[in-house]
Subunit: 248 residues, 8 copies
């Protein structure tokens, strides 16, 4: 009896072509396709890394559980990939190409705020996803609204940023307060830390959507990557002076 | 065929005794039983008013839809009740005994905050329920966190109050911000104004329960009466200097 | 017995000052405070209109049920307000100042897409809220994904817009498809049309948040006004060339 | 003290008869009863396999966690079952009889689409369940709507299939787009990949049920087996030219 | 001041072209676009009716509240439409073209079952939507599972139908029992009758999705139209002998 | 154009036979089929009443909105039904045959408890449904747990009843307390009175299901009829001394 | 530093008295207090076993995870308890006193039905809880409604039982079908087997509560113990001929 | 390739200053900031402990999974922290400074009630959090409402306490019964023990919010810490005789 998964009765096609990687995404919408690691097998991740390398694209594997890292790195060489071309970002639970593009030095970094240090993983994923596209961002942690002065003390820093990404779990009030104070685009990212009614980030998500502060945008719970891509869409329009999108 | 409801085949017992009013509530827990008007027939409300009058108790009918007021007042005299003994409080959608007990002049009024003027009904119900027990309270409206300065400008007023009731719909962040700034007891009341995810007050409720501010207490959505009774429990202990409850 | 609401036992303070209108909002974040009409009494709406007029601000009353319009207009003169200064926008269920600011002729209008003609009210609210801030927008209806060609036929039009607001009820797939095709900022607005699982807009909301298209931003269900304000935040940064926000 | 489960005080009856296997299912509705492995003990699974073998029926054990495979195979011989009669399908997390019936060579294979490679397990379960009934199907992965061209490029392939099963997690828009483009029966299978609002597949499920594309059918989340059986019902009617079901 | 909705500041384009009717839907997927009447204004409905008439298409307006019928019919002539070309189907709450296409006499009618007479509206909508496409269907009411014999007595009738649509509210067990007894395609339609946990049809929907009967397909709550279109997709494939879809 | 509902294009079969009334229900399970009035048209109700009369069965129409009563009674004679044979029970919102069967004088009445007078409708529906089957029951209102003494004072009365039906809205704690104090069968009926989290009866339902008191049974929210039928099943077994059910 | 839990700064009182075991429960309501093992520490379980032994009561520990059994048995002797006085029931995941009371030979056993063999644990817990109180019950597995004949074949067996407990996961239709066929008391127990919408047993629970079969009673998901206690309440009344409860 | 998390490409700032500990919280609201251990890395916890020590503040780490304790203690010395300054409280799953402040001997201890011994962790967390602020509390376990006498027997003890914290899982009725009997402030804490509908504590939470007992306050599920801080706010106002808060 054949019990090896690779000997399945109806084998899947292999290799990057069959994965149907969206290599045209950069030309179409100015972004690279990230590899969402959570539900993929190691073989699927490696096939994607190979496809991206062949296509000359930056690689970003998100939501890679720490215990999956070592076996993945070990397996790379036998598939023709060099571990030295990748770097693990433990704070963000991601693997990414190394080196990453150099950010434009003339661009003011955007700011990623987080209510507590428990929100770090999500904030770091957002920062890394931006770095993969050559955009610099700074983190500002522990500015939750339970101690409002910590946020108000940083108001000058906030005012300088072209865009604010605000990550928060629990009741998720941080982006609401920020959007009430400042005129820039604010992207709220609910974070799944919490317990009871805030477990899973639902209370934070609903709080951000229901916000009384006008013009707050929201992405899915824990979606640091998505917030970064939304920021990218906004900043590129901004860099073009509102006159259109040359990459389109 | 008998179609009149009062001629039901299996008639209910009538009168205050049969209503089983909890006239011992004041002696037991220091409160009067409010008559929740929403799901009661006019006959049930009048029977309760009669029972309270016989027992010498203050009456408070809550959640009385405006269109029910006129027929109710018209019907009172034929049941031996004098409309002049009651007063309609349109802002709170309540009917209450008139006059109400005189508040203790030495007691600093507690403060009832509301994020927006749409929260007025709930805030006013809380104030009236306190007034029915001889406790004074002041309303402070339109201090929602979308314009934080409106709240911060009132900080001295807030600091003087022995207790704060904070009503908010939408994302319900107001009590969180208040409890992060001040040391007094804070009771959050979610309000069912809003639309989409905030419709019905669920987002506000979850935001208050999930609050990152320590020691925020919450009552049911729109439960101005309940917040008032919780305040009463707290203030009486306070008046007694923490040494016990003489009314128990 | 006093049953008139205006004769409440504990009267509320009156007039625009007491409403605590956020007249500093334009200076702070570049927006005027809209008056959310749904849960406000006529007296509260009129007080807000008076306050805005005294402050020299544009007025926008949203979610004004059609049957409330006539009595409101009738009441204006007795409060010193001239009905000719306002205009009813039936498609958006709003009342707004008339005339509105002239849009900047050099600015490419942004585009508001809607899946079906049932989404019109929300799309029109977004367009009007932008118009109140001097920003032009065009509507493109009936481009739902059940007939994809209707959307693909308009691709050149979509490409020209600096920002896309996509309104959709039912399964809410429109913004996902749009964000997969185009590089600009895309703001998804779930609409509460539908029945069964899509009643109330929850399916559309979750579909937009869960979107596989990277960088899609979402606002609350039916929140055309909020989408407009988010667009305003983005476009202003864009107009400033990403160099900061002079209005801050 | 007796702690061995098999020595329970009130023993259960043993053997295939007592399991009350539905061996008449093929005659009644043209399907074999699959053994849902997730909540069954190894003893229960083996008893079912024995019963099916005695009845001369094809066996399909679904949702068999990988770590349960080895002990199960080891235990088969001591219960009179030959491991060589079964084959493990690692991609589908299933164990099935080996060999399976030969598909009808004259029948055009149906098509199973999946938005991403994370949906593979569900798609493979559907393909295997069809194979157990002698129906051929092909998989087409990575055709999610975030890169619409990947789907549009395959339109000719899609047009040839007599029926389409579309598996998708996240927002689940794939079946909607497919059903808007093509006239064949389309069965949507929500997949439980995702995070935040899409965790567990609820967003995909609701998106498919709320679909604006007419005539899209839906099965339970992750129910590849159910989609296959629905396809079987449809294809058999089709083969019979709509004139009835001879197997009934 | 302009308060007439038709004098909106930013007028919508008018006429069938601007409605972007999906007139190619019949050629593409073999169906006409139904007009979902619930959230549309009378003007929007009439514009759609005009567009369909110009395109020579059958019209079907669903979910038309009874009180909207008379004003709609009155308004038709002034828009160049003849009321005699339409017929009201009170049982289905629909307006449709009159006459409808003649059904193919050689086709065995499909069967629409309903648990109780409260499910009639949904069942009738399904039958009418099929009739609009020239497909005959018969209704079989009051065969709910609380009196199983009522269903078992009709087993021969059920066996003759090429496809079964089973509508049920409450716990929605009817399609499960039917799909366990018969081999044909079964489409379950949850109905929003019920109270408590079954209010809105959620219990029926979940019961059908969770069904232990293999191969049961489900559509949205109350979606009689959708069930009909799914049946149409199936029957056409069936009529073509499984060899493809000539209409594609 | 035909707009009269009774002239529908595809007419439904008429009369009691076509309604498929479950007239065998009394022989099978000892109950009559109640007519759930909420979602039925007047014609459907009358057809059911006629069918029951022909079958010599007791009629019970539940959830009959008060405003529907007069037109229904007026219409009866023209369908050959005498209004004098029915009686309206306003407290229960039901219409029932008149007279009802005489209860067995030797049977101790069962007891229906309700937390507040707002629960009366549900409690009265249960009592009437029992009366339709010749079983006597007494109501005991206003014994909610907020004033526990009101319940404890009645403990002797409770102890005498062969079975207790406990109706409660809000948090629904009444059946839990009762089942903790007494050994008889206790059936909990959640009631949909309340607001905020208790609106619709969900909090009460969940509280009863989650009860820490052992052996509490629960029926659907507001399902007084269902509680009565459950009681009937229990009492008949009881009357038979546990030796079986002669009516089966 | 003290890290041993038993050296906690504020030690809990020890021993059976402090556990406040409800040893009067048998006298009050005729049941013994079961020890719910899931959230209790081993020390808490042992303390409860000791208290029950001192009180001469039968012990039943439910929801004891298999891996907790061995350490618990090992620890018993050092607390003065003899492992030979207990028996592990692996099918029910319970530990119980051994021997259990002898059932009354004159009492017809009640019947516990289960839709599939995955429901065994819950059904076995119900049987064991009854056995702890001297009541005999028989299990009938695999009678799910997907193969209705398996149930109909057993109708005579079902008719003999004085009471039916029906356990079902998935859509939970089994108790509905049973209650529609038979006149005895039927207690539905939703089981948490399933996936997607049926995961956790919610679909089954709602299906049972929403049941169209009259008089079906429901207990919490997986609550085999609770169903047994409800049966005990019913059977004792039955044994007493409906004349009251001598144990009260 | 760099895989060490501490070598992340974009390093986070280190040390207590960067953690932005809210060391002003005691001066502002009279509380120390607790370290919520659940989602924090060991490095984050140690950094917080160091910051608190430097600030001279009491440390309380909550929700510290037992298996995390040993590695944390081992790591302390290498970061300049002495394990002897901390104490593990196994019952509460917390680590706290040792010694804790001496409680005021003149203050009557408040009372923490729990329905069952499964609620111990939450009750113990509340007691410890109070002890960290110099407030004494006593635990009273196993007073659930299924055996009401266990509570009623302790009524004198309850009457003496200045404030009651009532923890309960399952249906959560304990605080309702307590608040109906006694006049003091009552804080309800829902506990996440239970299964089926009570799993996660949602049923208990909703039951407490929906309570019919007036003036019951509620905190988030399992939030023993939050209940303690709410009690602290109340007791301090009480100690000050209601005359204001000197610490503000």
């Amino acid at each position: 009896m054949a019990t090896d998964p690779s000997a399945a009765a109806m084998p899947l096609p292999e290799g990057p072509h069959d994965l149907r990687l969206d290599l045209g995404r950069r030309a179409r919408i100015g972004m690279v396709e990230a590899i969402w690691g959570e539900h993929k097998s190691q073989d699927q991740i490696i096939a994607a890394l190979r496809g991206l390398r062949r296509g000359g694209e930056t690689a970003l594997v998100t939501r890679l559980a720490p215990e999956r890292l070592a076996p993945l790195l070990e397996a790379l060489p036998s598939h023709g990939l060099d571990p030295a071309h990748y770097r693990h970002h433990g704070d963000a639970r991601c693997l990414a190409s190394d080196p990453l593009p150099t950010p434009d030095p003339g661009q003011e970094p955007l700011l990623i705020l987080a209510g507590g240090s428990s929100d770090l993983t999500v904030a770091a994923e957002a920062r890394l996803a931006l770095a993969c596209h050559g955009v610099a961002a700074e983190l500002l942690l522990d500015v939750g609204v339970a101690g409002l002065h910590r946020l108000l003390d940083q108001l000058e820093t906030l005012r300088r940023a072209p865009l604010l990404i605000a990550c928060a779990g629990m009741e998720g009030a941080l982006p609401t307060v920020v959007a009430g104070l400042l005129p820039q685009p604010v992207i709220g990212v609910p974070v799944s830390v919490g317990y009871g009614v805030s477990a899973g980030g639902q209370a934070a998500l609903q709080g951000m959507l229901a916000s009384c502060a006008p013009g707050l945008c929201v992405v899915n719970i824990d979606n640091g990557y998505g917030a970064a891509m939304a920021a990218l869409r906004i900043l590129r329009g901004s860099a073009a002076g509102g006159a259109g999108h040359s990459s389109a």
